[in-house]
C-alpha cells in the first residue's frame, strides 16, 4: 500500500466515521459527505495519473458533477429545515416530529 493509497483511504474512512458517529448538526454530516467525495475525487484522479491511463481522467470530472448535485440537494434540505424548525440540530428534528 503506497502512501498515496493509504492517505486517501484513511481520508475516506475518517469522513465515514465522522458521518456515522457525530450527528449534532445536519451541516456537519453534509461536510463529512463532502470530505468523502473529495477523497473519492483524489482517488480517481490519482489512479488515472499514476497508471498513465489518461482516458480515465474524465471519470473524476463526472464524479465532481454528481457530487455538486448531492451537495446542492443537501443544502436545499438544510435551508428547508432551518425554515421549518429554526435550527439544523438533528436532535431537534427528532423532538419536533410532525
Amino acid at each position: 500500500m503506497t502512501p498515496v493509497h493509504f492517505s486517501f483511504s484513511s481520508a475516506f474512512i475518517l469522513g465515514l466515521m465522522g458521518l456515522a458517529f457525530h450527528r449534532t448538526h445536519l451541516l456537519s454530516a453534509l461536510l463529512c459527505l463532502e470530505g468523502m467525495m473529495l477523497s473519492l475525487f483524489i482517488a480517481l484522479a490519482l489512479w488515472a495519473l499514476q497508471f498513465e491511463s489518461t482516458g480515465f481522467s474524465t471519470a473524476p470530472m463526472l464524479l465532481l458533477a454528481f457530487s455538486a448535485c448531492e451537495a446542492s440537494t443537501g443544502l436545499a434540505l438544510l435551508v428547508a429545515t432551518a425554515r421549518t424548525h429554526g435550527t439544523d440540530r438533528l436532535q431537534n428534528l427528532n423532538l419536533l416530529q410532525c
Binding site: 498515496v4 475518517l14 451541516l27 475525487f41 498513465e52 438544510l78
Partner: protein, 173 residues
C-alpha cells in the same frame, strides 16, 4: 519532492480529521477548505494540473463557498474549536488510529512511490490529464449530456425543495 508529497498527504489526512472530529460547522468547513487545497497540491505533484485546476475552481471556489455561507444557518452561541474538551478527545483518537494503521504499513513506503504522469515520455505537447479530459467531449459525449440533464434536474429539485408558501415539495416550509 517525495518528502514534500508525504507532507501534503499527511496534511490531507489531518484536514479530514479536523472535519470528522465534530467541531462547530464553520470550523469544520475551514478544515475541509484546507483538505481541498492540499488535495489540489497533491494532484499537481502527480502531474494532473488540469484536474487540480478543476478541483480548485469548482470544488473549492464553488461548492465550499456555499458551504461556508450555509454555516450561518448553523450558528452556535458557544462555538467549539478543536481545542475544546470533547472535540480534542475525538481529534486525538482519530490521529492515534491513523498513526497506528500508518505504522503498520510504514515498512513498505519508500521514496520511489511518487509517480508523475508523462514522467517517462521524452516529449509531450499536452499534459496527460488535459488530453484525457478532452475525451469527455468526443467519445464521452453521451455521458456529458447525461451529466447536463442531471444538473438541470437537480436545479429543479432544489427549487421545489425551497419554494415555500406551502406549494413546494415540502408542505411544511
Amino acid at each position: 519532492m517525495t518528502y514534500f508529497m508525504f507532507l501534503l498527504l499527511m496534511a490531507l489526512v489531518v484536514g479530514l480529521v479536523a472535519v470528522a472530529s465534530n467541531p462547530t460547522p464553520y470550523f469544520a468547513a475551514l478544515g475541509l477548505v484546507v483538505a481541498a487545497g492540499v488535495g489540489c497540491g497533491v494532484l499537481v505533484g502527480h502531474g494532473g494540473s488540469f484536474l487540480s485546476l478543476v478541483l480548485f475552481l469548482i470544488y473549492l471556489g464553488g461548492m465550499l463557498v456555499v458551504f461556508a455561507y450555509s454555516a450561518a444557518l448553523a450558528a452556535e452561541p458557544y462555538p467549539e474549536a478543536w481545542g475544546s474538551r470533547s472535540v480534542l478527545g475525538y481529534v486525538l483518537v482519530y490521529l492515534l488510529g491513523v498513526g497506528l494503521v500508518a505504522g503498520f504499513f510504514w515498512g513498505g513506503w519508500y521514496e520511489g512511490s511518487w509517480v508523475v504522469v508523462d514522467g517517462l515520455k521524452e516529449f509531450s505537447v499536452l499534459r496527460g490529464d488535459v488530453s484525457g479530459v478532452a475525451v469527455m467531449y468526443s467519445s464521452g459525449g453521451g455521458m456529458l449530456v447525461i451529466c447536463a440533464w442531471v444538473l438541470l434536474l437537480t436545479l429543479l429539485v432544489v427549487l421545489e425543495l425551497t419554494r415555500g408558501l406551502s406549494r413546494g415539495a415540502l408542505r411544511a416550509v
